[in-house]
Symmetry: C2
Subunit: 340 residues, 2 copies
């Protein structure tokens, strides 16, 4: 059922005020601050109707009203007036990204830093591995008798965090032979394609099957989300919100937001094509603390998803600001990464 325009307007004002003040909002304050042309009694009637519909709740009979999870969702999707960032804020984002854009990890870290600074909430993010990333060069560097470092150059970056074990008795010549065979076989292929290569594809390569399998293992590690792909910033920001005056709430919040594995599950499985995503803890998401809201944006460059970043904070969150920041950061980040 569609709400009347007036109900929408009133609901929007309630959410606005509650986000601003953290205090249950009363009919009187609504008429005084936003609706000078109707009486508080009328507003009371509307409020009680909105309560009936599940958008508002009351702590007790004589208290003001507080928005429900339903109301916040409607607010973000329909009611909220979109915020614009100031020149200064946009310049700040640009500055941060441009001063250190060489290293992808730095960029990721900076993304959460900027988001947390500008929103004043805890920010979380995860860089999504790109299974379509294509291999250009593959190189082995033996540095111990039985271990070699695998260097993989792709279109976008240099992967250098995996090791393979070298079979006993393999000479340096054989290893560099393996290198050139594999290079020829794999270059131009995406990670996913490499992982799907069937055994019996190529005669000349058959001698290096073990090495090949090791490399596939290494690629698989790159293709999965790992704790090292997760970043978090500003965990202490939650304490600035008056509803977090309760130690047990803080503890609950921190026990999620200081642990990379938990943040990883928090951000896992976010829809691919949805840009801004709002999840509210009371709404049945197991991983999100009950009194929290998680707002995320999924960023892409050159048509592939590069990561999910967002903000976790009280349900009563400044969604206008958060959405504006996430969108602007996304725009700038995507433009930087697309230009490569």
């Amino acid at each position: 059922m569609e709400l009347s325009e007036r109900k929408k307007k009133i609901l929007q004002c309630v959410v606005d005020d509650y986000i601003e003040t953290a205090v249950p909002v009363s009919s009187k304050s609504l008429t005084e601050r936003h609706l000078p042309n109707i009486s508080s009694a009328t507003v009371r009637n509307e409020l009680s109707a909105l309560e009936e519909l599940g958008y508002l709740t009351q702590l007790h009979t004589s208290s003001g009203r507080v928005p429900s999870a339903e109301a916040y969702k409607l607010y973000v999707s329909d009611l909220m007036i979109k915020d614009k960032l100031s020149e200064k804020e946009i310049d700040y984002i640009k500055k941060i990204f441009l001063e250190k854009a060489d290293n992808l990890e730095e960029v990721i870290k900076n993304t959460t830093k900027v988001i947390s600074e500008l929103t004043s909430y805890t920010s979380v993010g995860v860089a999504t591995p790109d299974v379509d990333e294509k291999i250009n060069i593959i190189k082995f560097f033996r540095y111990k008798i039985d271990t070699a470092l695998v260097l993989i150059v792709t279109e976008r970056r240099l992967l250098k965090d995996n090791y393979i074990s070298v079979p006993e008795g393999m000479t340096d010549e054989q290893l560099s032979e393996a290198e050139s065979v594999l290079s020829r076989l794999l270059s131009g292929k995406s990670f996913e394609e490499v992982c799907n290569i069937k055994d019996d594809i190529n005669d000349e390569f058959s001698g290096y099957k073990n090495i090949f399998l090791n490399v596939v293992e290494a690629l698989k590690v790159y293709m999965t989300v790992k704790e090292s792909d997760v970043v978090m910033e500003g965990q202490d920001k939650i304490l600035d919100n008056p509803e977090y005056a309760d130690i047990s709430k803080i503890k609950n919040f921190l026990s999620v937001v200081t642990k990379k594995d938990k943040v990883m599950t928090l951000l896992a499985g976010d829809g691919r094509d949805i840009k801004i995503n709002v999840k509210i803890g009371t709404d049945g998401y197991e991983e999100i603390p009950k009194d929290c809201s998680l707002v995320t944006a999924t960023y892409s460059a050159n048509g592939t998803k590069i990561g999910t970043y967002g903000v976790i904070g009280p349900i009563r969150m400044d969604y206008q600001k958060v959405v504006a920041v996430l969108e602007n950061v996304g725009k700038i980040l995507e433009s930087i990464l697309t230009n490569r």
Copy 2:
């Protein structure tokens, strides 16, 4: 001035009890729990003498006594009965370290994890770069027209996080020539020695001076403590302590302990040869939150310092446990790293 045996005993009991209960300790509870042979009035006299000496304080006339920073220092150095870890706990430490000991970064991360788990406090640590580390092999891998990855194999590890920019027009042959010249020049030398090499040391090398200077820059980065050398665990553990019921205290604590740069200054400049080090916030250490105590241990292997690890928590901290854990972790860690 030396305390009488009885004063020492009483002070020890006060600290023990206060650490256990977090409640100011009274003369009555002391006689009941620990000193059945003297009357509470006698204890009261002794307590008031200890207060005179600066070891105890009272919140108000009719409250029990609380240890001062002075008292804790004496407690740790003199009064405390050293704790032993249980078999189970020692096995736990061994298990953690043995299951993933291949990668130095993992080991470092595990060190703080174990310390935090076993003590139930926030743990912090920093891996100290070793300026005496000796270079075995140096290798360049050009992966962009103007950039090469520098791989440096030392006695202990493979460094692979630095890039040098390659002069325009330099061919692959010239780069590999530079590689072998530098390899000959640098292998067997320590980082520090390399940084002190004077310009005019070698004719054959003079053509690659720029590359050499780039490599020195890279080594200097390895030789300084960086944020990536800092690890932290269990930042939420502080909330289990009843004296942290106050949001502003929590905020203060978290604002230090969620930021790598701050933890870095916290751990900076710890004496080289001191094993266990106790610093109490009220004692004039700028970086430590006023109501906190920082207990650190400095670990070495093969005669060189490998890092400083410890625990940060309330002044009223279980020093017996903490010291025991730090010592045991140290023993096991040092034995693992020395065996390399």
